[in-house]
Structure formats: structure tokens, C-alpha cells
Symmetry: C2
Subunit: 198 residues, 2 copies
Amino acid sequence: MAASPLLERLMAALRCLPGVGPKSSQRMALHLLERDRDGAHRLVESLQSALDRIGRCQRCRDLSETELCALCANPHRNPTLLCVIETPADVLAVEQATGFQGLYFVLMGHLSPLDGIGPVELGLDMLEARLDEGEIREIILATNPTVEGEATAYYIAEMARERGIRPTRIAHGVPLGGELEYVDGGTLAHAFAGRRDL
Amino acid sequence: MAASPLLERLMAALRCLPGVGPKSSQRMALHLLERDRDGAHRLVESLQSALDRIGRCQRCRDLSETELCALCANPHRNPTLLCVIETPADVLAVEQATGFQGLYFVLMGHLSPLDGIGPVELGLDMLEARLDEGEIREIILATNPTVEGEATAYYIAEMARERGIRPTRIAHGVPLGGELEYVDGGTLAHAFAGRRDL
């Protein structure tokens, strides 16, 4: 390699980004230094301030630069509906795609005892305290349709039932625009078991 | 969108990276903040020092943090061979793939009068002064095989010939491992015109 040590170090640092390997990190580093130094300065500045100031919302655990995130602080959201979800990315996806008007609780993961992730790591003690407040009527379990996501949903559903709160789970079935032929067996079985009157 | 303003700004800043659109910038921003804050700190630090300290080599115009880049400063390289090339990425590619032992001159582009890129922007006055030094015997024109790259190569070849220096052009032909059936016509014509005794 003929690259200068600082350039090498920049390429290595860029590889911490998801989906970026040796080739793209080289392309990115050279692009920033040759053609977009202004963009690179903006990137340094905004990444630094995001690191300094973005923490967790005290109520829903979502990423937030204020003690309460914009959603939790919004008085127009319905406080009787709580959507439990795995990651901040999932919150963004639900906000963009659905008309959901309730509040969120972000687990930042799913139960995974082998990795040392239990109820405390997911903030389920915080969730329990929140359910005890008595305002919530329905808890929508929107964890991923994986083994761990399902287990997490069942665990939280139990917590809700003990307090007389109705737990619901988002529907699983064939995705829109898909073809039955190419849908996996588990999904198809779910879609049949969950059929509804038309 | 429910993202916090700082998060929005970070996503926008990440979009200056080549090949990064709205979806990947969101994925990258959330990954850095949720899962790899150490990597993000390293990225800020190495990008900042690269921006502060990487400039151009005074002799070959390649990116360098010192006045002379490591290649130009290396006394073991052959100073009679000069490879003229478009970008720093091309230098890395040639260094990695070939056994070339000469020196480089990096144009940082190609002649493109319509975009206001003429001989001065490519540093051809610097190149002319260097050719006048009299040390160089052969100048290898390794610009891209595009219309602009060819025009640039012809222009520099003329400069070399005027000074009695031998200009050569890298070979164009069918790439290794390719199939003739799928090679474009221009390349195939080049490959036939440039055939050699076996």
C-alpha cells in the first residue's frame, strides 16, 4: 500500500460503518479528501455533536437529545396506547408507514439469556413501573417476528395481563405484493391460522 | 419523521459519502449511536486529523501528509520511469496490482474544457517542468480508457515527444477471465488491433 498513514487510519475508521468494507472505505476516504472536504467537515461536526448530546429518552428509552423525546413530550399522542418495539429504527419505520398515534417503549434489543440480555437490560422494570401508572389500556407488541422477538412479546404480554391491560401482537402473514409460491412455510402457516372474514 | 434534529442532521451529513442514500444513512447513524460509539469517536478523530493534515505532495500531486509523499521520497524507486495517472485511487490500484517501480504524477482528473479543466488545473505546467529536468526516459500514460482520458494521454504524449522522452500507453484489450461474447465492440477492436506474436 502506498497510502499515507493518516489515510490508512481514516479508511480503517470508516470500516466501523455497517456494510462498509476495504473497497468502499477507500472510495469514501478518497472522495471526502479529494472532492468533498466541506461535507467531511460537516460530518465531523454533526457526528461529534450527536455523540455529545444524543442520549436516551427517560420515558421510552428511544434515542433523544432531550430528557423527554419529541414523541413522549407530544400532548397530542394517545397515552392509553403503548407500542413496545425493539429499536429506534423500528420506531422510525412505524412512524413513517402507519398512522399510529400512541406512544412507544423501545427495548433496544430482545430477551437473549445466552448473550446476558435479560429483563433488566431491556428496561422491563421501567416498563413495569409505567404499566403500574394505570393510564395504558392496550400494549401493542411490535417486536420482530423472530424466535427471540416472539419470546420477548410473550414475556411482556404476561406482564400486561397481570395488570389487566390488553396485550396485542402485530399481524404476521404474507407481505403485500409477495407471491404465495415464494413465501416461506412458517409465514404461510401464520397467514392461514390468522385468516379473517372478508 | 420522529428522529431528533441532531440525528436528522447526522443522517444528512452521512449522505455526503459516495453510495449512501437515505436508508443507509439512517442505518449508519443508528448503528454508530446505539452500538459503536467508540468507533464513532475514532471516526471523528481520524477524519478531523486527515482533513487538517492531508494535502498534496509537492512533486506528484498525490494526497500526502508530508511535503513529499512516501513514494516520491523513496530513493529505491526508479526516477527514469514516470507513470501519469488520473487519481490517488488509481495509484493505489497500480501499486497493489503491478510491480511498477517508477514514480507517479497524479493529474487529479482529465482534460475537460467544457468543465473548465485545462492543462493548468491538471498541473501540466508542473509536469512540463519535471520533464525538463531531464531525468525521465519513459512516461507511461495510465489515464482511463475514456474519450477524455485518451485526449489527455495524447496531449501529454506530445509534450513528452517534444523533449525526446518516450511516451507509452497501457494496453487496452479483453480483460482476463472475460468472455469474448460479452466484451464490448470497442474493446474487442482494440484487442485485435493490438495483437502480439505468441
